[in-house]
């Protein structure tokens, strides 16, 4: 974990600028980040969630191949530790989550019913968006999941707005706004950073740096490729985190939540992660080698890593892992069956929900 150079620079700025209260406030350091020490139950929950996301996404890939899922479908395989670690730390119903189009994992980590997600992927009436949103556009007001946004980086100012609403309502909630290394180059991200820090909004900005914006690697697209430093000129503290280690992620989440809930304004977390699959299902992935992908799978896989550690710690034995695998496979198979068999929306649904009011 790397603590930002940001802090040292900000100190220099403070000396120049004198005693601005904003700058003095800035000098408060974020709490020390420690790798989370889970209980056995916690670690099992993390493992179960990561495995659910992995198996769900594998199944979605299969259904796509069978023509049951159409359009764009962006899989989260490889990045499971990020949402699992972060969302295990928030309070459902109080805090809010928003992300881009690679959103299935975020929804599962919001404890949304896998059936309603899979049925949305297959475009059925029982889908969480009644079949009208698809893979990229899903929401759950109940679970505090605010999408599922298809326009790269649009979710970043929206996330700042969710933070604004939490602050305005004084409900103690925090907004988690996820975006990718590609989205980090959009201008609106910095417009949102500026307002979020200016108004001390309770927002955790999470850059899921999976190394490739579609086919363009970070260092081919980013003049500053240490993305945790992207908040520096807005005085937003940044942390770089091993996004392949669920406990490192959870540790960063603990520190970030303490910081943000303490009224210090937003924080930026760069999660170094990796996606095993293509950008979307139609991506031939010619921009990286098979060996590169295989090497991450062999050495850094978040699920394998957690399993090894749980065995070492004696938090679970092989029998538990076997049972867990069976349980998850059953859940996912049921979701897939449901999604395949559920009826398509009635044609009358074409005209519903365009507007809420009747005029």
């Amino acid at each position: 974990m790397v603590r930002g150079l940001a802090l040292a620079k900000a100190k220099g700025a403070a000396q120049v600028a004198g005693k601005s209260p904003a700058i003095e406030g800035r000098l408060e350091r974020i709490p020390e980040v420690e790798r989370h020490r889970p209980t056995a139950d916690e670690y099992r929950d993390f493992y179960r969630m990561m495995l659910l996301i992995r198996r769900f996404e594998e199944k979605a890939g299969q259904l796509y191949g069978m023509g049951l899922i159409g359009g764009f479908c962006h899989l989260y395989i490889g990045q499971e530790a990020v949402v699992t670690g972060l969302q295990s730390a928030i309070t459902p119903g109080r805090d809010s989550v928003v992300t881009g189009y690679r959103d299935h994992g975020h929804m599962l980590a919001c404890h949304i019913d896998p059936k309603s997600i899979m049925a949305e992927l297959t475009g059925r009436a029982a889908g969480i968006s009644r079949g009208k949103g698809g893979s990229m556009h899903m929401f759950s007001v109940e679970q505090g999941f605010y999408g599922g946004h298809g326009i790269v980086a649009a979710q970043v100012p929206i996330g700042a707005g969710l933070g604004f609403a939490h602050k305005y309502k004084k409900d103690g909630g925090v907004a988690l706004a996820y975006f990718g290394d590609g989205a980090a180059n959009q201008g609106q991200v910095y417009e949102a950073f500026n307002m979020a820090e200016l108004w001390k909004l309770p927002v955790i900005f999470v850059i899921e740096n999976n190394q490739y914006a579609m086919g363009t690697s970070v260092n081919r697209a980013s003049a500053e490729d240490q993305l945790y430093r992207r908040g520096e000129s807005f005085r937003i503290e940044g942390l770089q985190v091993d996004g392949m280690d669920v406990l490192a992620v959870r540790g960063a989440a603990n520190a970030a939540l303490e910081w943000v809930r303490g009224g210090h304004g937003p924080i930026l977390l760069e999660m170094k992660t990796y996606r095993y699959r293509g950008h979307s299902m139609s991506d031939p992935a010619k921009y990286r080698s098979r060996e590169e992908v295989q090497s991450v799978r062999d050495n850094k896989d978040p699920i394998d890593h957690a399993k090894r550690e749980m065995l070492e710690l004696g938090y679970a034995d092989e029998a538990w892992f076997k049972a867990c695998e069976q349980e998850i496979r059953k859940t996912v198979a049921e979701a897939a069956d449901f999604a395949e068999q559920a009826p398509e929306p009635e044609l009358s649904e074409l005209y519903t929900d365009v507007l809420v009011g009747s005029y």
Partner: protein
């Protein structure tokens, strides 16, 4: 030198001579403040830019409604025969110009002319005269008093009291948590507003002009308009995007576009564009209460115009056109500032024995097709008046409706009278030539009668 009341903003037509700071016989120096002028937006200081002696003050302090260009004082300028010098207005604490730069206007500069407002139709209860600007402010203030989730954000809405003074007084009443000055960051604050709306608030997002909302149109359309549908009806976005739209005066092409046709083409949006103060108030209140995202298109030239507004609670339903003037020979369909032009044309036509009906659409999405068709059925002739481009316009849409659904009622082709199909030019004569005017409407009507 004759000191004439200068235009202190691109759209100022008259002002109040609040105070004289000099008297006849006084020597004045360049840069000396000689008077305070109140416009409907702010109090401005008037400076002399010549050295000389005040010969006479020709308009008494406290005089209202002094037209721009009126001689208000005469100064004997040193070393010069009496000639037409210039007087530059100096900004006081509040600058009405949208750019924040005090306009350096020649005293004899041409005065921008907006369409003359016609008297609105009568209301049942008691009314009072209000400017469109005040009516909009009252609508926001009333809704903010009624609902703690309503807040206003935008550039200069709070401490500056609004670039066009529409939010005047709101900061004092509601505080800075609910009247929020934003950085100049349209894309960002439009998106932030959408997020706040999804998070349960009811934001009113002011754009200094809708020309700047082009930077934010992605959030208006992709994030606000489409989300309810894409979420199967669970993710609401009750937000109002409001601000001036269309041509102002001499601000050229980038500041002069009418976006009504753009937004009105988008399912998932409500698009409103009132003409008079009563509708401005009543429709803005409906917009704020609406559970849907609303694009509320105002007009800078109308802000200072006064109309009768019903006292007390006044709410105008969304989706209903207003028959502004009854007639029998032809229907003039319009919205926003175009209604004033249509009313002016109707008056001219009346003198020629043609009875024109004027229908103010005011709600562009949903559009009151029934009112359009009912009026067509009555007059059998229709001309659409629109301060905007002709191609793919609201006028085009009205023509399509008339043809598809009112074909049997048509005695003549429906014509559109709009701005010319060019970016709006700056030069005074070219701008005039490009903008829609009553004479064009009269000519169009005469060609089909």
């Amino acid at each position: 030198m004759h000191v004439k009341l200068p235009a202190m903003s691109p759209t100022m037509e008259e002002g109040t001579l609040a105070t004289w700071l000099v008297k006849p016989g006084d020597a004045v120096k360049p840069g000396q403040v000689i008077a305070e002028i109140e416009t409907d937006k702010a109090t401005m200081e008037l400076e002399s830019d010549e050295a000389g002696t005040v010969l006479s003050l020709d308009v008494a302090a406290g005089t209202d409604g002094v037209k721009v260009g009126t001689v208000i004082a005469v100064i004997a300028v040193e070393g010069e025969e009496a000639s037409s010098g210039t007087v530059a207005p100096r900004a006081g604490t509040e600058v009405p110009s949208e750019t924040g730069v005090a306009p350096q206007v020649k005293a004899d500069a041409p005065v921008p002319q907006a369409a003359a407002p016609a008297q609105a139709a009568a209301f049942d209860g008691p009314t009072r005269k209000q400017t469109v600007r005040e009516a909009l402010r009252d609508a926001m203030a009333e809704e903010m008093r009624a609902d703690g989730a309503v807040f206003v954000m935008g550039e200069e809405v709070a401490q500056y009291q609004g670039a066009y003074k529409v939010t005047q007084g709101l900061l004092e009443e509601f505080g800075d948590a609910r009247v929020v000055d934003t950085p100049i960051t349209e894309y960002g604050f439009a998106g932030l507003g959408v997020g706040a709306a999804m998070g349960g608030l009811k934001p009113i997002v002011e754009f200094m002009t809708f020309n700047f909302a082009m930077q934010a149109i992605d959030h208006i359309i992709n994030s606000a308009a489409k989300t309810n549908y894409m979420s199967g009806g669970q993710m609401r976005c009750p937000i109002v995007f409001r601000g001036p739209n269309g041509a102002a005066s001499r601000v050229a092409a980038q500041h002069s576009q009418n976006y009504a046709p753009w937004y009105a083409s988008v399912p998932g949006l409500v698009v409103l564009s009132p003409y008079d103060a009563a509708d401005a108030k009543g429709l803005l209140k409906s917009a704020i209460r609406s559970p849907d995202p609303v694009v509320f298109l105002e007009n800078e030239l109308l802000y200072g115009h006064s109309f009768e507004v019903p006292e007390g609670e006044h709410v105008v339903p969304i989706g209903k056109a207003r028959l502004y003037r009854e007639g029998t020979d032809v229907t003039l369909v319009s919205y926003s500032i175009g209604v004033g032009i249509a009313l002016e044309a109707a008056k001219l036509l009346e003198a020629d024995g043609v009875s024109a009906e004027v229908l103010d659409l005011r709600s562009l999405r949903p559009l009151d097709e029934g009112a359009v068709l009912a009026s067509l059925k009555k007059t059998n002739r229709m001309v659409v008046v629109e301060e905007g481009w002709p191609v793919c316009s609201i006028a085009s849409e009205i023509i399509a409706i008339a043809m598809e659904k009112g074909f049997d009622d048509l005695d003549a082709p429906v014509l559109r009278v709009t701005n010319k199909d060019v970016p709006l030019p700056y030069a005074n004569n070219l701008e005039k030539a490009a903008l829609v005017k009553a004479a064009d409407v009269v000519a169009a009507v005469k060609s089909i009668i």
